[in-house]
Symmetry: C2
Amino acid sequence: MAVYTDVGSEELGRFLDAYDVGRLVSAKGIAEGVENSNFLVITEQGTFILTLYEKRVDPADLPFFLGLMRYLADRGVPCPTPIAARDGQTLRTLCERPAAMVSFLTGVWLRRIEPNHLAALGEALAAMHEAGQGFALTRPNDLSIRGWRRLVTACGARADEVEAGLASELATELAALEAAWPRDLPRGVIHADLFPDNVFFDRERLTGLIDFYFACNDFLAYDLAVCLNAWCFERDLAFNATKARVLLAAYARRRALSPGEIAALPVLARGAALRFLLTRLFDWLNQVQGALVTPKDPREYLHKLRFHRAVRDVGAYGLP
Amino acid sequence: MAVYTDVGSEELGRFLDAYDVGRLVSAKGIAEGVENSNFLVITEQGTFILTLYEKRVDPADLPFFLGLMRYLADRGVPCPTPIAARDGQTLRTLCERPAAMVSFLTGVWLRRIEPNHLAALGEALAAMHEAGQGFALTRPNDLSIRGWRRLVTACGARADEVEAGLASELATELAALEAAWPRDLPRGVIHADLFPDNVFFDRERLTGLIDFYFACNDFLAYDLAVCLNAWCFERDLAFNATKARVLLAAYARRRALSPGEIAALPVLARGAALRFLLTRLFDWLNQVQGALVTPKDPREYLHKLRFHRAVRDVGAYGLP
């Protein structure tokens, strides 16, 4: 949670002059998102989220992210819609940073996940995958199998500072995944970071998917693997197979999973666990003095990785 | 800017069940206020600010703060109104902290102050002072003349880490102020922290006064002295006598200043400068590792203190 850039109300007012949204009524920096600065902006005509993209986002990726949100929103996916200025542009500049306004979504994210939330999630994820099929731009997944070796190398022997033997375990795991990683599963645009804090609900009803700033092209089933990790473990790190079954069944009702995708789920789930383990490990080992964001403990994902590694088949995820 | 306490949406939903505000629609932690955790909460019936009082606020003071806001709002002062739950209480508990919901005020705070903003400020301050006259509860000003010696002592010789000779200058200044401090000016409830980020505007129109968590009983003119410091210096720390004159004239049109109050302004302004110098100096010398808030440079108020000390009479503030 952070607001990295202080935006004066006078500057914001001038920024809004380029849009057909009426005058500024209120603006609050919001403690949401760890990569960018976000503001809840109320104008005479509505409520919006204004994002200033900070240095961890590559400006070259912004047309992909903003274009995707617009494309998905136009096709009924409940996600933020970028607001075009009068000149038709959605990507503008504020305080010397790339900046965009998107529509405000109602709903809140859940701390306590119930199985019926997984049903809504599975359906929404499948609908997003379907809606994204015609999107013309592409972006590789830098944080999939090809990106992990770089992170393993960057962490190096220091991984053992977190747990003795971890450096060796990571090297072995990476080699195993490189050998077993699928090659020809159905591909498309994936969210790639669909954690509970990126999904809004109004009680049981899913009202929004947010934060598309890791979205990319990859195996569609990899998004399910991320969700198995992010949504199906309890607070004590016990895996809840009921939640997994509900998630996968709801997804498959909307978009059928191929036998290859189903068979690949354990290795994809291992890979997704390794991805979050590696980025958290890297951030843990490279903490910035005075940073606004506290790094997350990487051991949560080490535990999840080991769970998926021990899985015999998709029966562990509640599938027949 | 900070949100110290993470409030889950389920907990927040249950908290709201005690109020007649409809169901939770959205909630965002907001980067506002350095003492407490604040959330912008949207329900079916409106928009509110929820505050969780963190350890720097004495719970025993909360009935004064909340009662004052209610009292002032009922008398037309544009300030947050505490929302009573169904049981009539405005002070409740959330996440084991005292918590209160107040009404949401439109408007934004200004980075670039123009003289006409000072006119609106002066009038609103006088109106607040008038409206507060009948308020029954009282709270001493811990950060007025009686509290400064404790801070001077706590900073001690380490003040010289900020500027050579500062410890001695502070001791001399404190002694001078203790000798010259007025005794019998008109008293009442004051805001005591009316900086630009606590005043909302819609262009020239003042829409709200917020953050009453330093409010107390003291000389009414001390609030003007705080504003002379907080509103009438330019970014380069040059004093803008036009702004001071507009502020004082607008105030006096609503509530006449006595000759004693006018004559006391230079010493009150010195005192107000010393108050913010001392708290900033203390925070600067006692920085907490990993704190979410960056301490402000105390030298800004050292400069302001020296300005007021050099003032010959109220002519420096644009008065005849």
